[in-house]
């Protein structure tokens, strides 16, 4: 039984089709990387998954729930920027991941203390404990994105959506963010969708790579048709999943 189900989704803005006939099913715990040229509806697709927009046709369902009407606790999101609250300290940003759902948006008394302790654990795991009382604007881009991911995970979403989260980072920071994300995933077993421009990143991190492209193209009217998923690669084991030995060999292997 698939966890995230996208059925026959169409999306158009003012009669200009962006997505057409998108069907995909993703299992719980899978990491789906989404790639494609600019303007091919990747971000639109992510917004549909987030329920920030509703499709003109078709439906997006998570865990067999009825299609959501607005973003909610079951979907976490990390944008390329503006993902953390600039007016809260780093620690408060993590606490906000748990407290915004409450009536006044904050914890009081004993609960507040406990939440701060939990936040400090999260910060220690994300390597941000030394800047706990700083404001996000004083952090580097990579630290801000780590904070954004930590904050999204503090809310314990069922699906994590990443919209080019590492797009603005330098290559070195990007590699360490990959490690960070892979560790977190190994820990939580979370279902992840990530939009990226970087094919290498997509194949490195993803279990599947979904390619968005326009299957039909009218040279006289390039915006006539929308995009859809044209390829759905199995990206496990570096994209070559069927070249694995099916049986264990019983030959002594010196190097192990």
């Amino acid at each position: 039984m698939s966890f995230v189900t996208v059925e026959d989704v169409f999306q158009s803005y003012d009669d200009r089709p962006i997505l057409e006939r998108v069907n995909v099913e993703v299992d719980e715990g899978e990491f789906a990387a989404i790639v494609g040229a600019s303007g091919c509806g990747k971000s639109t697709f992510l917004r549909l998954l987030l329920a920030q927009e509703r499709p003109s046709r078709g439906r997006v369902r998570i865990a067999d729930a009825p299609p959501a009407k607005e973003p909610g606790l079951d979907r976490g999101i990390v944008f390329q920027k503006y993902s953390v609250f600039p007016h809260m300290t780093v620690r408060d940003n993590i606490v906000a991941g748990e407290s915004l759902r409450l009536g006044w948006g904050r914890f009081f008394g004993q609960k507040s203390k406990a939440a701060r302790v939990r936040a400090d654990e999260t910060l220690a795991r994300t390597g941000l404990d030394h800047v706990a009382h700083h404001y996000p604007a004083t952090l580097s881009g990579g630290m801000q994105q780590r904070l954004a991911i930590g904050q999204a995970l503090a809310a314990k979403p069922r699906v994590l959506l990443l919209d080019e989260p590492f797009g603005a980072l330098d290559p070195g920071t990007r590699l360490s963010m990959h490690d960070f994300l892979q560790e977190l995933r190994a820990e939580t077993g979370m279902t992840v969708f990530m939009v990226t421009h970087d094919l290498e990143e997509a194949f490195k991190l993803g279990d599947r790579v979904l390619v968005f492209d326009k299957p039909r193209w009218d040279p006289h009217d390039p915006s006539r048709y929308g995009a859809t998923i044209t390829y759905d690669f199995d990206a496990r084991d570096g994209g070559i999943p069927f070249q694995k030995l099916q049986e264990d060999t019983h030959v002594l292997q010196a190097s192990r």
Partner: protein
Amino acid sequence: MRLINLKPGPALTAFLTLLPFLAVFIAYAIGSEIRLAENPSDKLLPAPGKIWDTMVSLTTQGDRRTGRILFWHDTWASLKRLGLGIVISSLFGLVIGLMIGLLPLVRSALAQFVAILSMIPPLALLPILFIVFGLGELSKVVLIVVGTLPFMIRDLSQRTLEIPEELLVKAQTLGASSWVIAIRVALPQVMPRLIQAVRLSLGPAWLFLIAAEAIASDLGLGYRIFLVRRYLAMDVILTYVLWITLLAFVIDWSLRWASRRFFPWAKEGL
């Protein structure tokens, strides 16, 4: 070296800052000197020394009839009206501005209405305010509110709209209700802008205060200026003008200090 690359050092900066003040003072002193040389009882440009004497007697000597030092009573009366007006209009401005910025339903209902309201010249309403609210304190406070509120609402709703969409979506994915988004995400981000808006509104607020006091009052800085105008008492008028300027400057400065102190994450303002 190009002119745009010439930067003054600390000493020169201090001198250049003081220069226009000095220049104005010297120009005034010379003008006063010339007029007084021709006619020692000239009232238009009293000598700086005379202004100083007036200043001292105004701030220390009581009124002959009542014994009250009118200068401080005037100041207190005016500041009360100004403060009350500004507080009321920033409270309403904040609430209505947040609602227009966050709630599309309220935006559709009120945004155009407020835009039209802000076009009404407040001073043209002054007679109506005097008729409706009487000549007491209320009409003066209402004039300040009427004069500054539409600007506050428009400014704060604009700032609320400028909060990145990403932050609002993020808050929703963390389970925040509209109310929580308003008080935990939008309100704190708009607060520095509120202080900024108050700073910008203080100029018009003083204008409306003095206008209202000039027309109907028995106490207040504006009332006193327009009262002593009849006797051409330039020394008193200038003392009051300098005092109002100083008050406005101190209020503005402390608001800027408060903004930096309480909202250190916000980008530095004007």
